[in-house]
């Protein structure tokens, strides 16, 4: 009954927000609140479920990764000064209108690449950020210790300063370097950070998971996992090599789109197939896709928009 009580609902929403904020989360106080009245858990669950459903809808609405050379209209407000805050996800959240209310943070500026484009950003202290295609980075003028990866993929080679560690913001998560080369990917499905050298702290003020070289963390709306990865294979896209261990074809198609600037999609029945191995990128697209087809055991056909991966005839899949 109290679940329908507007006050309880607001309290529940407040808990949802605070418990997701590593700095403010207080699990004992939250337990006390839940125990005070069974209706509290029901109200919390109602908010958490609505929130989780919305999260799924947001992800679904983004659809396949959209290289910037396809015919999706550019987000209208990319021209506005809001870009550092709203530019990245604008095309993506097609249903939402951007309101010109949030003024940008003082000295934030954006660096963006088109699909297929690469870009090296060197900060004043020598820290290097290599951006893959279809990526969006927010930086602060006069602040060499901060970057926000809003979309796409980037490899960070950080000049370490123990007094002032470098931090990468990826949505709500923070990665703090401990003397490092690491690669970060952000998409609608979540975040992935792989460490090639040194170490990184994930959410230093919260869970504070330490990731040493050879570790990869994957974070989605509902799950966090840490796995081993060969450090030599981290961020090899910089050398034109995509290295996989049991990766889904959907993910490989997204990586190819980002790296090539050509839309690559995969037939739904193949999306969950897995591949382990190395794809060498090649400027000759016909040659590249002939090889991709052979490696992945699929038919790669040219379409009006790019390339489509589908099952081979009589391949017995």
């Amino acid at each position: 009954m109290a679940q329908g009580d507007p006050n309880v609902r607001e309290e529940a929403a407040g808990w949802l927000m605070r418990q997701r904020d590593p700095v403010r989360a207080d699990w004992e106080a939250f337990t006390d609140w839940l125990e005070a009245d069974p209706a509290h858990n029901a109200a919390y669950e109602a908010v958490a479920l609505a929130d989780a459903d919305l999260g799924d809808i947001v992800v679904e609405s983004r659809g396949a990764p959209a290289p910037s050379n396809d015919d999706m209209p550019l987000p209208v407000h990319r021209r506005r000064r809001l870009a550092p805050l709203f530019g990245a996800a604008a095309a993506v959240a097609a249903g939402f209108v951007a309101y010109p209310l949030l003024t940008p943070m003082a000295a934030t500026y954006a660096v963006e690449t088109k699909a297929g484009e690469r870009r090296l950003v060197t900060l004043d202290d020598g820290t290097r950020i290599e951006m893959n295609g279809d990526s969006h980075l927010s930086l602060r003028k006069g602040d060499n210790r901060y970057a926000s990866l809003d979309r796409g993929e980037a490899a960070f080679t950080v000049v370490h300063d123990p007094q002032s560690p470098f931090e990468v913001k990826v949505g709500d998560a923070i990665l703090r370097d401990v003397g490092t080369v690491f690669n970060v990917t952000r998409s609608g499905y979540g975040m992935e950070a792989a460490v090639a050298e040194g170490a990184v702290l994930y959410n230093p003020d919260g869970e504070a998971v330490r990731l040493d070289a050879g570790k990869v963390i994957r974070v989605s709306a509902s799950a966090v996992s840490v796995k081993a990865v060969d450090p030599a294979t981290v961020a090899t896209w910089r050398q034109g090599r995509l290295v996989y261990q049991g990766a889904s074809l959907a993910r490989i198609a997204a990586d190819l789109s980002r790296n090539l600037g050509t839309r690559v999609d995969v037939a739904p029945e193949l999306a969950n197939e897995h591949f382990s191995g190395v794809i060498m990128l090649d400027h000759d697209r016909a040659r590249l896709f002939a090889r991709v087809g052979a490696l992945l055991d699929v038919a790669a056909v040219r379409t009006g928009h790019g390339w489509h991966l589908k099952p081979r005839k009589r391949a017995g899949r």
Binding site: L102, S222, A247
Partner: protein, 188 residues
């Protein structure tokens, strides 16, 4: 060394975690769920964790939410949306079909309309937080309002979301989870 620290924290806080799971609605399954929590936590973790207790609590909360969503999906099996989601393999971020993208965009649009009725500022703050993943304190800093004021706006928005979900006529289909736990995707 790494697994050891987490295990010690788990053992020291068994009672508190059990209490939390019960309070979160685990009922008679609380003991089993605590076991499941430990299996997941020990399998997923390979490096030292700075705040293991927060990590375990967070995982327990997600466990209860996933359980609840799973039960709900079984109830709504006739829902076409969930049929589409049926083939999802854990660990795979599969690309949604164009139809599903359209349905989701439609749902997002109706959420947006409902939020717009709360006022532009509330809608913008909610979008910044929930759609674009901007942290609340960053929103507070960029809008020049206090953190608790940001929280108030978000609470208003969540109230509407819950109402939409409770209202069977509202278009807010329960979509599936994208679970990456236990996946072994490459890193490109």
């Amino acid at each position: 060394m790494s697994g050891h620290g987490l295990e010690a924290v788990f053992l020291d806080n068994r009672t508190a975690l059990l209490r939390f799971l019960s309070a979160r609605g685990a009922g008679p399954d609380a003991d089993d769920l605590l076991q499941e929590l430990w299996m997941k936590a020990s399998a997923g973790q390979t490096g030292p964790i700075g705040n293991p207790l927060a990590y375990l609590y967070r995982m327990a909360d997600n466990l209860m939410l996933d359980r609840r969503r799973g039960a709900q999906r079984r109830v709504r099996r006739d829902d076409a949306w969930n049929d589409l989601a049926g083939g999802t393999v854990p660990g795979v971020a599969d690309q949604p079909s164009p139809e599903r993208v359209l349905i989701a965009r439609e749902a997002l649009r109706s959420v947006e309309q409902r939020l717009a009725a709360l006022g532009e500022r509330t809608a913008a703050i909610f979008k910044a937080h929930r759609v674009e993943g901007i942290a609340q304190r960053d929103i507070a800093a960029s809008t020049g309002i206090s953190l608790s004021a940001v929280e108030k706006h978000l609470q208003k928005a969540y109230r509407v979301l819950v109402e939409m979900r409770d209202d069977p006529d509202a278009e807010l289909p329960g979509a599936r989870r994208h679970v990456i736990e236990g996946a072994d995707d490459g890193t490109g």
